[in-house]
């Protein structure tokens, strides 16, 4: 897999932000704050990794935010030993249903997952209208604790990112995924079972959303039914900022993860500068626009 120039854009931006913030923002460059950024960004990194599978397949999944909410409320109201299987089960089921429906109904994935998002949101609120339960102790220590002096989520997130990167770039599945996203028809003619590849990409996304939901629950400490609201758009923004084209066919797990870290870094810095949430939102919009415009994919012969 060749390395495209624009893939380095996000690394450059990350480096610039870290250097500028270390020099100019008091309280940024110390161990506590860096650990804080790592913990804050972990949920979004996992969601960005999952969304990358779907986007490379040429699809989009708007349902992950609601899926995270569902995992949060279910895991908060069940015994600690069961939460992992609940989270993975819910993620698997949702990814499977979405993938199968995309294949059988042949409708645009944006519309389908918009429907799924609405349905899962409804299910979350039918289950509970207010915050319920509390995270299992092991979730709290995973999300907020340290192992050997570093945040406990860091090795988990790095390992997951490594596995995703390996899956996309170094396995037959990854190759077939990129072929399917590049041209579903050509991939099918080449003997790739594109239906199966698409279902697998949605399942991967669902599973990662399940894990992200558990970590989010550990961080917020209660089963808040709106916990995941809007995260699907942040994840898509991270994927695109990372240089992965929404047209599908190619993408990079590493740059998606880095872009998710950049988004979390920016909000951390604006918080340290005590900038109001409203101005932060405006800034985020401007950052999205300027980065996607500066970091455009290479021109194609057609469009």
């Amino acid at each position: 897999m060749r390395v495209h120039l624009h893939n380095h854009g996000i690394l450059l931006i990350l480096a610039l932000i870290v250097v500028a913030a270390s020099l100019g923002v008091p309280g940024f460059f110390n161990a506590d704050n860096i650990a804080n950024v790592v913990r804050q960004s972990s949920v979004l990194v996992l969601l960005a990794l999952g969304q990358t599978f779907v986007v490379v397949a040429g699809m989009i999944d708007l349902s992950v935010g609601s899926l995270v909410s569902l995992v949060v409320v279910l895991a908060a109201s069940n015994a600690g030993s069961e939460v992992l299987s609940i989270a993975l089960g819910v993620g698997l089921a949702s990814g499977l249903v979405t993938g199968l429906l995309v294949n059988f109904l042949k409708i645009n994935s944006l519309v389908l997952t918009l429907g799924m998002m609405t349905i899962i949101n409804g299910m979350v609120f039918v289950y509970t209208e207010q915050s319920i339960g509390a995270p299992a102790p092991w979730l709290v220590s995973l999300a907020n604790g340290n192992i050997a002096g570093i945040p406990a989520v860091l090795p988990l997130v790095v390992a997951v990112a490594g596995v995703c990167h390996g899956l996309l770039q170094h396995t037959r599945f990854g190759l077939h995924l990129q072929a399917t996203g590049g041209s579903d028809e050509n991939a099918r003619h080449a003997g790739i079972r594109t239906n199966r590849i698409i279902v697998l990409s949605f399942i991967a996304n669902g599973l990662l959303a399940g894990v992200a939901g558990l970590i989010l629950l550990g961080r917020i400490g209660t089963g808040y039914p709106n916990a995941g609201s809007g995260l699907e758009l942040d994840a898509i923004v991270a994927v695109v900022l990372g240089g992965t084209s929404l047209r599908g066919g190619r993408g990079s797990m590493i740059t998606s993860a880095l872009a998710a870290v950049v988004l979390s870094l920016v909000s951390n810095i604006l918080n340290l500068l005590e900038i109001s949430a409203f101005v932060q939102m405006t800034a985020k919009g401007l950052i999205v626009l300027s980065v996607v415009l500066l970091n455009q994919p290479p021109k194609r012969a057609f469009a």
Partner: protein, 328 residues
């Protein structure tokens, strides 16, 4: 996707999209829903209830009219919800409860909304970035702006007479707001059926490469379509103020996806090149009527979400099937 002339088009003779089953299906579904509703409740078919559904549908419907042109082009506008909010907040802030400020406030809201649409259109037309992410970016930016402007709370006071005018019921039953919705739909329909611009929108949406090779003004058409979307979203913001009387900064947060759902229900697809505002009006009415039905059955708001999601999926699947059968 390349638009093939369907067998039906050829059989019908004058080659227009109008007479395909897909275009009638939406009204059949609407009739079925009305039928089901009348079985469930005696009050369903009363004029008062029907007019009320139209009144509820007005802000969503007006915004969806403009988005339809953008989607026929094969693009998407996720900034409509934010533009509705901007328009609503601007209007009430400028009115300041005085009728002298009414016209400047309305004019400013509409001009600003149209300009925002034009900026969105320019970004989409002159970059290679997908309209999904571009308009998502402007939406986040604009929501931030409205929050800064209002401090995150309901803001401003409506001019006296503004709400009263739109809620005035002509002949004792037909609110001006509903008439405004129908008139705007008619205007959009006339644009769609008679203008060169609309013809170019369909051709560009059906096959951009061919359109470019044929020398169609692609960039200009994209910018105009987004300006229309901005303008209609601006009017929708005013309609929202007229209906509710207040404008919170997130008044229309989430509207972009309801609008998207309504346009798709109306038979305009993401691939572009087909659909139209007549279908969109049907889609808006179906969505609003479905909520009304769920209310009548007595389900709560949360169950309405589940029904809404199911409707979006089932209707899109149905269109996909009909479209495939007709080769379109």
């Amino acid at each position: 996707m390349i638009q093939q002339p369907s067998q039906n088009d050829l059989l019908v003779g004058h080659g227009r999209r109008r007479l395909r089953v897909a275009d009638w299906a939406i009204w059949l579904v609407l009739l079925c829903l009305l039928g089901v509703g009348s079985l469930l409740s005696d009050s369903m078919l009363r004029p008062a209830n029907l007019v009320n559904i139209m009144r509820q549908a007005a802000p969503l419907g007006i915004a969806a009219l403009g988005v339809t042109f953008v989607m026929i082009l094969g693009e998407v506008d996720l900034a409509v919800g934010a533009v509705i909010s901007v328009s609503a907040v601007l209007a009430t802030s400028l009115m300041q409860g005085s009728s002298a400020n009414l016209f400047p406030a309305v004019a400013t809201s509409l001009v600003v909304s149209t300009v925002i649409g034009g900026l969105n259109g320019s970004l989409v037309a002159f970059s290679r970035v997908s309209s999904f992410i571009l308009t998502l970016g402007t939406a986040i930016f604009l929501y931030g702006c409205t929050q800064i402007l209002t401090g995150g709370m309901a803001h401003g006071t409506v001019s006296p007479g503004f709400r009263e005018f739109f809620n005035l019921r002509l002949g004792g039953w037909l609110p001006v707001l509903v008439i405004a919705f129908l008139l705007l739909a008619l205007v959009a329909l006339v644009i769609q059926r008679t203008s060169v611009f609309a013809r170019q929108v369909y051709l560009i949406g059906a096959n951009r490469r061919t359109a470019r090779l044929s020398g169609l003004p692609i960039e200009r058409t994209i910018v105009i379509a987004y300006m229309l979307s901005g303008f209609f979203a601006g009017v929708a913001g005013l309609a929202l103020v007229a209906r509710s009387g207040v404008s919170g900064s997130l008044a229309a947060s989430g509207y972009e996806f309801d609008v998207l759902a309504a346009v798709i229900l109306g038979g305009t697809s993401f691939q572009g090149g087909r659909g139209g505002v007549d279908g969109t009006v049907g889609g808006v009415l179906i969505l609003t009527l479905a909520f009304n039905l769920v209310n009548i059955i007595g389900l709560n708001y949360h169950s309405q979400l589940i029904v809404k999601g199911l409707i979006i999926i089932i209707a899109s699947a149905a269109y996909q099937r009909i479209g495939a059968q007709q080769g379109g």
